[in-house]
């Protein structure tokens, strides 16, 4: 849990009086700098260095997914070995242990869909509420959320375990889904996004028409919020997909493991007495684990980009 699930601290009332206005017409927004600045090769090269830095370990992963267990130890890490067995490895990954990888994959999808989906819904509802309604205790809500996040999660693991154990939730999917339903970063994002992207005039108009708040939310506001919503969805998807620590503690039945815990178990096989080392499957499995996230990002890229520019685009 030490990844930055993030929590905003600067509540919107800290905003400076803005010198900036939202552009009147999105099409008029140009990129910064002189409009016809020539492409800089130097800059591209420097960024390419950063790209290589970012991608190198993943390149290692891809290359080593193509090797056999023995070749992993014999060959140079960054280039292919004699045998190219990527497809064999993939087939083995899916069939090893009676197909437990597939089961784990399914579990992870479940946790992501319900967990990230739920987190996005909760954060959107709450962020919208904070943005569009005036009620006492608003600042307190914020401070409490931040305060709880500041406490190291690993130290909360045992209390959470004990609590869930009493509630009979350990070793069930709920033990994983419930904690992942809270995304403070999502809350903050939607809150600030909603302030700009859902004009109060529209809300007033809907109220005049007699629409209930909830109905207005679902029929009108949600659509206006969609870029921000997709952003939160993406970030929570990555977080739940990669969730490792809490599932490790909560689960003692491997049928409910997510991929992260399952791969770790495969990895540990090589250090047990009489264990069958399957590094090649761990590496190939890890590689397969990353693919869905990449696909999701590529697919949702356009929403994600505009989602982060709160106030930039009005539906």
């Amino acid at each position: 849990m030490s990844t930055l699930t993030g929590s905003p601290v600067a509540t919107p009332d800290d905003a400076t009086p803005s010198r900036r206005r939202a552009p009147k017409d999105p099409a008029r927004r140009r990129t910064a700098g002189a409009p016809r600045e020539k492409r800089s090769t130097l800059l591209t090269v420097v960024m390419a260095v950063l790209l290589i830095y970012s991608v190198l370990p993943l390149f290692w992963l891809l290359i080593n997914s193509t090797k056999t267990q023995e070749a992993l130890f014999d060959s140079f890490g960054l280039w292919f070995s004699g045998d190219f067995v990527l497809f064999d490895n993939i087939a083995q990954v899916f069939t090893y242990g009676d197909g437990e990888f597939v089961r784990w994959f399914g579990n992870t999808v479940l946790y992501v869909v319900v967990g990230a989906g739920g987190a996005t819904l909760l954060a959107t509802l709450a962020g919208y509420g904070l943005a569009k309604f005036d009620f006492p205790g608003k600042k307190a809500v914020f401070a409490v959320v931040l305060g709880a996040v500041a406490i190291p999660g690993t130290a909360l693991a045992v209390p959470t375990f004990l609590m869930f154990s009493q509630l009979g939730l350990t070793n069930t999917p709920w033990a994983i889904i419930l904690p992942s339903l809270i995304s403070p970063f999502g809350l903050y994002l939607i809150w600030t996004y909603a302030i700009d992207s859902v004009p109060n005039e529209i809300l007033e108009a809907a109220r005049m028409d007699g629409s209930s708040e909830l109905r207005t939310f679902f029929t009108i506001s949600l659509r206006l919020l969609s870029p921000g919503l997709i952003t939160v969805l993406l970030f929570t998807m990555v977080a739940t997909w990669n969730n490792y620590f809490l599932p490790l503690i909560m689960l003692s039945d491997s049928t409910w493991y997510p991929l992260t815990v399952g791969l770790n178990q495969w990895n540990a096989q090589s250090t047990t007495v009489g264990g069958e080392p399957i590094y090649n499957l761990v590496i190939t499995g890890s590689f397969l684990t990353i693919i869905p996230i990449v696909v999701a990002f590529l697919f949702l890229q356009k929403y994600w980009q505009s989602g982060l520019t709160a106030g930039g685009v009005k539906a």
């Binding site: 004990l162 003692s252 080392p277």
Partner: protein
């Protein structure tokens, strides 16, 4: 006023919920829960229980346990055995401890390594198998493993495998440097010096400071650092045995003759494969791992008894090895106990264990002709089991582990790191470790004396 009410109400509600949760947790988490299920039964009662429909959960990481469970289910079709791998070693013990503290969620049967048993017996978390008549199995097992699973008059687990220590070595490396296989520690350190000065990338062995290794070496040297009598614990990591070990081992540490490759890593296996690590002082269960993961060394490895402090001695120690125990929380102790016996003391279960690479803890198997005649190719056709079975009979008796050994082991590196990194003496390391272990023991309520 309406304005303040929601805020106050919300705060009160939150506080209230919190209190209730905290209160219920406090009530439930103090003290360990007693397990259901009879604590003792006759053989007939156990047989009867096995005929009824039931399910037991087993937590184990050893690969042999799944096939053993299958065989058990075939023999007793009404019983379902659910084997779960919830982590290796300390990871599993953490989960066990969590479940014990929570009062529920523990399995019926668990694999527990020998050094961790005292910790669980102390917490009264393991069922006494004497109640099922298993104390009569004493003669089936080697004295050292039986010692490890018994405490006072109770039998808290049955030994599954064992790890008498031996020296695994690379014949080709010793031939290369014209060295005889060392039989004493003096010869060993001399050999270390020779090979390392000839080639700075050649090491006699790798050691970055491992608590299990350290305790086993002190054991082999005749040390007895831990004395446990109920709540009274004495820690003496400076005793004669310990000093015997450090005086030899310091030479290696200070001369930089030890490879600093952490064990069980990719680099370590490669080193074992290519010979840059020339010996391995470890338990008898190692051959399976060597064969599987250091394939490059096939045909070159051999086994010899541990080097001795005095010419002609035959002392060795145990290093690693696990037992199978029934958890006190189990609600189906009869079936769980039967499974435990099946896995460790009955022919069928034992055979599966050995096929999976475990080294026997049962005297019958250690004396078995076929077993002793095995001559694996990886070891150049040497009859390794003769050496290893012999080692099993030479384990120095009466060793004790701390009732909090798992934790003590986890902090060993805190004290040892600088000595290994800087090449300095291990005596201050052992002293510091002893004090840190004692401090923990005191905090946990034991009366600890440090010598």
């Amino acid at each position: 006023m309406n304005r303040s009410l929601p805020r106050a109400a919300k705060r009160a509600a939150a506080f209230g919920v919190g209190l209730v949760l905290v209160g219920s947790l406090a009530a439930c988490s103090s003290g360990s829960s007693g397990g259901a299920g009879a604590d003792s039964a006759s053989a007939d009662e156990i047989e009867a229980a096995l005929q009824e429909d039931s399910t037991i959960t087993v937590w184990a990481w050893a690969p042999a346990v799944e096939p053993i469970a299958e065989a058990f289910q075939e023999k007793y079709p009404n019983v379902t055995v659910d084997v779960q791998n919830v982590g290796t070693g300390a990871d599993q013990y953490t989960k066990l401890q969590n479940a014990i503290k929570a009062g529920k969620g523990a399995p019926d049967v668990a694999q527990i390594e020998y050094f961790a048993i005292p910790q669980f017996t102390l917490g009264e978390s393991l069922a006494d198998l004497g109640g099922f008549g298993y104390d009569e199995l004493e003669d089936d097992f080697t004295p050292s493993t039986w010692n490890a699973v018994t405490q006072d008059d109770g039998v808290y687990a049955l030994p599954q495998d064992s790890g008498p220590m031996a020296m695994f070595y690379r014949q080709d490396v010793f031939d290369k440097y014209g060295l005889d296989v060392p039989t004493t520690w003096d010869e060993y350190t001399a050999a270390a010096e020779t090979m390392h000065s000839a080639d700075p990338n050649q090491f006699i062995t790798s050691d970055t400071g491992d608590a299990g290794f350290t305790t086993s070496m002190i054991w082999q040297a005749g040390g007895h650092p831990y004395e446990v009598d109920g709540e009274n614990v004495t820690i003496d990591l400076q005793d004669e045995g310990a000093q015997r070990w450090t005086s030899t081992w310091n030479t290696l540490v200070e001369n930089g003759s030890l490879a600093q490759t952490p064990g069980w890593t990719d680099e370590w296996f490669r080193g074992l494969g290519d010979g840059s690590i020339a010996t391995l002082l470890t338990g008898a269960w190692m051959p399976g791992n060597l064969t599987a993961q250091a394939a490059a060394g096939s045909g070159q490895w051999r086994v010899a008894p541990m080097p001795q402090y005095e010419e002609g001695d035959t002392a060795t120690a145990e290093n690693g090895g696990s037992s199978v125990a029934v958890m006190q929380q189990s609600e189906n102790k009869l079936v769980a106990a039967a499974f435990t016996k099946f896995a460790t003391a009955e022919e069928e279960g034992r055979q599966i264990s050995f096929d999976a690479g475990g080294f026997p803890s049962t005297t019958a198997d250690l004396e078995d002709e076929e077993f002793l005649a095995e001559a694996p190719e990886y070891f150049g056709g040497q009859k390794i089991n003769e050496v290893l079975a012999d080692a099993a009979t030479n384990v120095v008796p009466d060793w004790q582990y701390l009732p909090f050994q798992v934790y003590a082991n986890s902090i060993y590196s805190d004290s040892a790191a600088s000595a290994y990194t800087n090449g300095t003496s291990l005596d201050p390391v052992l002293e510091a470790w002893g004090e840190a272990s004692a401090a923990y023991g005191e905090q946990q309520g034991f009366t600890v004396e440090v010598k």
